[in-house]
Amino acid sequence: MTKLAPPPPASELLWHAAVATCLKLLLIPSYRSTDFEVHRHWLALTHSLPVSGWYADETSPWTLDYPPFFAFFELLLSYPARAVDPVIVHLHRGLDYGAGSVVLFQRITVVAADSCLFYAVHRLTRKSEPGKARLIWVLVIWSPMLLMVDHVHFQYNGFLLGILLLSISYLSEGKDLVGGCLFAILLCFKHLFAVAAPVYFVYLLRRCFRGSFARGFGRVSALGAVVVATFAAAYGPFIYHGQMQQVIRRMFPFGRGLCHAYWAPNFWVFYIVMDKVLSFVLRRLGFDIQTPAASFTGGLVGNSSPFAVLPQVTPLITFIMVLLALSPCLIKAWRNPQPKDAARWIAYAYTSGFLFGWHVHEKASLHFVIPLALTAVQSLGDAKHYFWLSIVSCYSLFPLLYEAQEYPIKVLLLLLHCMAMFLSFSALFDGSARAKATAPESRKVDQSGEKRSSGLAKEGGFTIGWITKCYLFGILFVELWGQFLHPYILGKKLPFVPLMMISVYCAFGIVYSWIWQLRSIVRCSS
């Protein structure tokens, strides 16, 4: 029996976090999107107005569309903001404020909030082998997607994903109450995380009743009470003021189409392209096809559909499709809720939500890529899958940073990430393949199922198949076309083509990843 090496010290994790922090600080003067002004306005809103005014205010087009806990978080940040520069939190004078003080303050709040992510990763890896722990640190703490979205484009995803990972960490240790409570808290921070709620619900319900019925009932009540208490703490003040409808309307705005202006690489991209191709072909064949008045990015206008040929898609249809996609996972979770599979199911839930959801932003790919990093260390197949998936998802985020000075940054971040992943995965799986080759008698009763560990011994090291290589090199061609050849050959004509190509190309990858994840969940026998 080979003795497992002790987990690496926390100081190494701090080293990784410190290096990431230096990079983030260097990115402070870079491009920032309108999300920066959105969050600054929320600082001013929560600071200047009473609670009853938060979801009713119309001073700025950037209305509060996150749940109340996030508003309380902004309120908390607004006090040091006022100490730094009072104009930041002024409702009217602070509009579109871009001085050095507000940029520095807000960027540093994002960097500081990432400590939640660091703690969650620490908690997840404190009992792992050193090789796997370091790999997870590299994949999560040095994730180029988080750097690009949080620290350039500007958002607080690191903080929120930290809460999600913390919840997964408690679930994987079997501490369901804390895990469920943390998920409820997360839902009150950002409601978009609710896609995984069915998985949580089924998993926790089944886990509660694993023993006797009476104890199970007790557990369910405790969990229910905690969740209700969390929601009450969040929405209580708004129920008191009778503003719940207004809050719901702000959190789920109508007037948004099936797709964002830049199409997220999900299933609907294929649906739209198919619709356009069919309408073109059918028109050529002589059928009378009306050009639709509505657009994909605009809202639902009465009964008019933005689709010329194919049936219209409504939010209800997307909701049903997400549930259908989730159902195999829910059945699996009901039959055998294993703590070690929690991360995999939750990542699958977010993948399904990304693929079939309504008005999905491309940034939502963060929700499934980061939790999948936790499963990437479990087997060689998972590692190979994660390798190309993270590259494709990172590439799909490129259009977010469209200014010239960020171009080398995003390309180099992606290349560095590829190299770091390749070297780390090779080191981890070549090492363990060699170890298994030298100890053939020790049948490791691996918790992750015999299929995976036997696959490790047979396949040897970490290699990339030729199909994957072709697909990844295809990304290079898409980028070359979009950045250089298209402006050179076609000039200003058909400006949407490069972005559409990126969406479609990445959508292929993400759909395949969804199928792969579904197969891996269904096939896994324990």
Partner: protein, 448 residues
């Protein structure tokens, strides 16, 4: 760039109606002018307004700034990086595989992620990467016994920035020492001189038609009328000028003589050592021991010249890591007022921190032979570190008194000078101690 692409070569260094030398006229040798010409063509292709004669003075748009930064980045990648890789390959050639692989990886990181070079070249904006890259190429050639190539490359470096002359004594003494040990020393010296003269002739070709043109260019390269020192720099003259007001007591011509004598005499020990017993390690220390005295005692030294001693210190990072760390941190401090004026405070702090983190990268103790910092003189070192942080805080938070508006700069310079002087003594001692250890190596290298 504006001057070189709009005027013929013979007018570049001459004052005229189109070329106003008082508005940032060319004061580097012709290779810089050729490089500016190439980059000027690149800028003209994408943004002609940025290099138009007269009208582009002070021209700065988002796009033109991006193009200019790209010229430095591309020079870095095309000149400095390949030179460093060549050196790294030659340096690690004799070393064993295995556990020292992570040391070699650490060494490359230390060479390339040099915070001073990044801040000056890509922050303040200069092209030191080209001359330093050519110098590193010359060092790599010397270490792989290709002396003629080394001569050519170092001459090119000299022709890009005259400050590369800080390394000239080391190259001269080491190559002379090696030549004297060969079969036909006179022939070797002659071939090297021919290479050097040939390189110079090729670069200075447009100015060789008359002595006047030659002298005109030379006068632009050595502006002695600017005085012993400008601003605050951590060298001997500036630090001691607190007590001895050199500029008031002596004429410029006398001061030139003083600085020349002191510089040459402080370079002599290292030169003598290399002529008498040349070795590769000794050569690297020799580079350090000729650039440091030049920095400390030479005429018209700028704060940015600390990059020159930093180069050999980085090349020696595996031999003596604490030396490199010492020089880098205090070199950064000596440039701190300059970088604050350039509004580079945030990159300065983060690159300083990042360098510290990369230096202390966590790794298995058994795998590497690079130990942590030495434990000598702990109390003095702790006091020094406190002063280091204290000076940063004082400079950032407090206002200097009315009577001495540059008090804090002076304090920083004196503190840094003290450390550089200690460092110079330490490195000289180390180079002389090398000869005792390398007696055996010299006997083996008799046939070079």
């Amino acid at each position: 760039m504006e001057i070189t692409i709009n005027l013929p070569a013979k007018d570049w260094y001459v004052n005229g109606t189109l070329n106003d030398l008082s508005y940032w006229g060319l004061d580097y040798p012709p290779l810089t002018a050729y490089q500016s010409y190439v980059h000027g063509l690149f800028l003209k292709l994408f943004d002609p307004d940025s290099v138009a004669l007269f009208s582009s003075r002070g021209y700065e748009t988002y796009f033109s700034k991006l193009l200019m930064r790209w010229t430095v980045l591309s020079s870095d990648v095309m000149v400095f990086f390949p030179a460093v890789f060549c050196f790294w390959i030659v340096y690690n050639h004799g070393r064993s595989r295995g556990g020292e692989r992570c040391d070699a990886a650490w060494h490359i990181a230390m060479l390339l992620i040099n915070p001073c070079l990044i801040l000056i070249d890509h922050g303040h904006f200069q092209y030191n990467c080209i001359s330093l890259g050519l110098t590193v190429g010359a060092v790599a050639a010397v270490l792989s016994q290709k002396d003629l190539i080394a001569c050519a490359l170092f001459s090119l470096a000299l022709n890009h920035k005259q400050m590369s002359a800080y390394f000239a004594p080391a190259f001269f003494s080491h190559l002379l020492g090696k030549c004297l040990r060969r079969k036909n020393p006179f022939f070797e010296v002659l071939s090297m001189s021919l290479v050097v003269i040939g390189t110079f002739a090729v670069v200075w070709w447009p100015y060789l038609y008359s002595t006047d043109a030659l002298l005109q260019v030379l006068s632009r390269l050595a502006p002695f009328e600017r005085g012993l020192y400008e601003d605050y720099v951590a060298n001997f003259w500036c630090a001691t000028s607190v007590l001895i007001k050199w500029k008031r007591l002596f004429l410029t011509s006398k001061l030139k003589l003083f600085s020349f004598i002191i510089t040459v005499s402080t370079c002599l020990p290292s030169m003598i050592h290399q002529i008498s017993s040349p070795s590769s390690r000794g050569f690297l220390y020799g580079l350090l021991n000729s650039s440091l005295p030049f920095y400390l005692f030479s005429f018209q030294v700028h704060e940015k010249s600390i990059l020159l001693p930093l180069l050999p210190a980085s090349l020696l990072a595996l031999d003596d890591p604490s030396l490199y760390k010492w020089l880098t941190h205090y070199g950064l401090l000596s440039m701190f007022p300059l970088l604050c004026r350039d509004r580079l405070l945030l990159p300065y702090l983060t690159l300083n921190a990042l360098y510290f983190l990369l230096y202390h990268v966590p790794r298995d103790k058994r795998d590497s032979k690079v130990t942590g910092s030495s434990a000598a003189y702990p109390i003095l070192r702790a006091f020094s570190v406190c002063c280091y942080f204290g000076l940063h805080l004082i400079y950032l938070t407090m206002l200097p008194p009315e009577k001495y508006p540059f008090l804090f700069e002076a304090l920083i310079m004196i503190f840094c000078f003290f450390h550089f002087a200690l460092l110079a003594i330490y490195t000289n001692k180390k180079q002389w101690m090398l000869s005792e250890h390398s007696m055996l190596l010299n006997k083996e290298k008799k046939l070079i």
